[in-house]
Symmetry: C2
Subunit: 181 residues, 2 copies
């Protein structure tokens, strides 16, 4: 898909479109359940984890594994807390070993050497997307276990996205590649 | 770009990649400044507005117009508060009239009839991306002023994204279409 790069903001003079609010429409349907699993390192903020779970619910992610002492705040996660199969585990490495045995590709979201640019990365359908801590990101021992690392291009200060926003971008890209599951 | 849909999570058995943390890398460079303007309706939460400004800074968005009584929380917005040219205005309609006169295409992010699917929408480079209130979205009088409405596909509960996460997805898509400005 190529963007339009035109001097004219309004190339055609057809009748104006009319838009009417339709909040909380029925969701887009999937022809098969998604096979992405979202895996979160221990986080500092339960608001961030809860926010991520809300987005996961909206994206049709069936399963989230949150490590550490995650407490879901339902005022933030909304119905995502009920839709998503949420499992809490102590630490990442055993979770990643299990997912590897289940034949998921382990894909970290991190600023790292050897990373691939998110918009150029072709996600395997069966992806475990691994999200790091807000401050410290993904630890070295976790990075060493990953198959791929994807990175969101950053064009200006503060040079790092909020973790929930970064996760939203990565899930958006996955869903863009698999619009029907 | 097509995703890989393979039964095998690890199709090749080449040597494993090594990844090394490089947080706060220098940003990707733009060959010319972005021409997107981000416009926010009056919001309930200054955290949401501030979060949006952090993302705007990361995406190289040069200009944000926040309506209503927005107060930027720098702990959330980080350096985004300084990088982005931020202007506060009372209400959206006069802002949209000005941007229209400056030949921006007015593109709302909303669940609406007549909307286009975000991943299928070709952004004009000169876009004013208009974001609605967390609860009420974009008002009818604002919708009537827009050229296009884009909508993020939703696949499950809670059927609506947090406004900052939705904005992150839309800015990601714009940057994906204009990786170098």
């Amino acid at each position: 898909m190529t963007g339009i790069d035109s001097d004219s903001a309004r190339p055609d003079e057809t009748a104006p479109a009319t838009f009417e609010h339709t909040r909380h429409k029925p969701p887009s349907s999937l022809t098969r359940p998604r096979e992405i699993v979202l895996v979160c390192a221990p986080m500092r903020s339960n608001v961030n984890v809860s926010n991520i779970i809300r987005t996961a619910g909206c994206c049709g992610v069936p399963r989230v594994i949150a490590c550490g002492d995650a407490k879901i705040e339902t005022r933030v996660a909304r119905d995502g807390a009920e839709t998503v199969d949420l499992v809490c585990r102590r630490s990442l490495p055993p979770v990643l070993n299990t997912l590897r045995a289940e034949r998921y590709r382990l894909v970290g979201l991190e600023q790292a050497s050897g990373s691939q640019c998110l918009p150029e990365y072709a996600f395997p359908r069966k992806t475990a997307l691994v999200i790091g801590n807000e401050r410290t990101g993904l630890a070295e021992d976790v990075l060493a276990m990953l198959d791929d690392v994807v990175e969101i291009p950053i064009y200006g200060l503060p040079h790092s996205l909020n973790v929930a926003n970064a996760t939203a971008m990565a899930l958006y890209e996955y869903c863009r590649q698999y619009p029907s599951g």
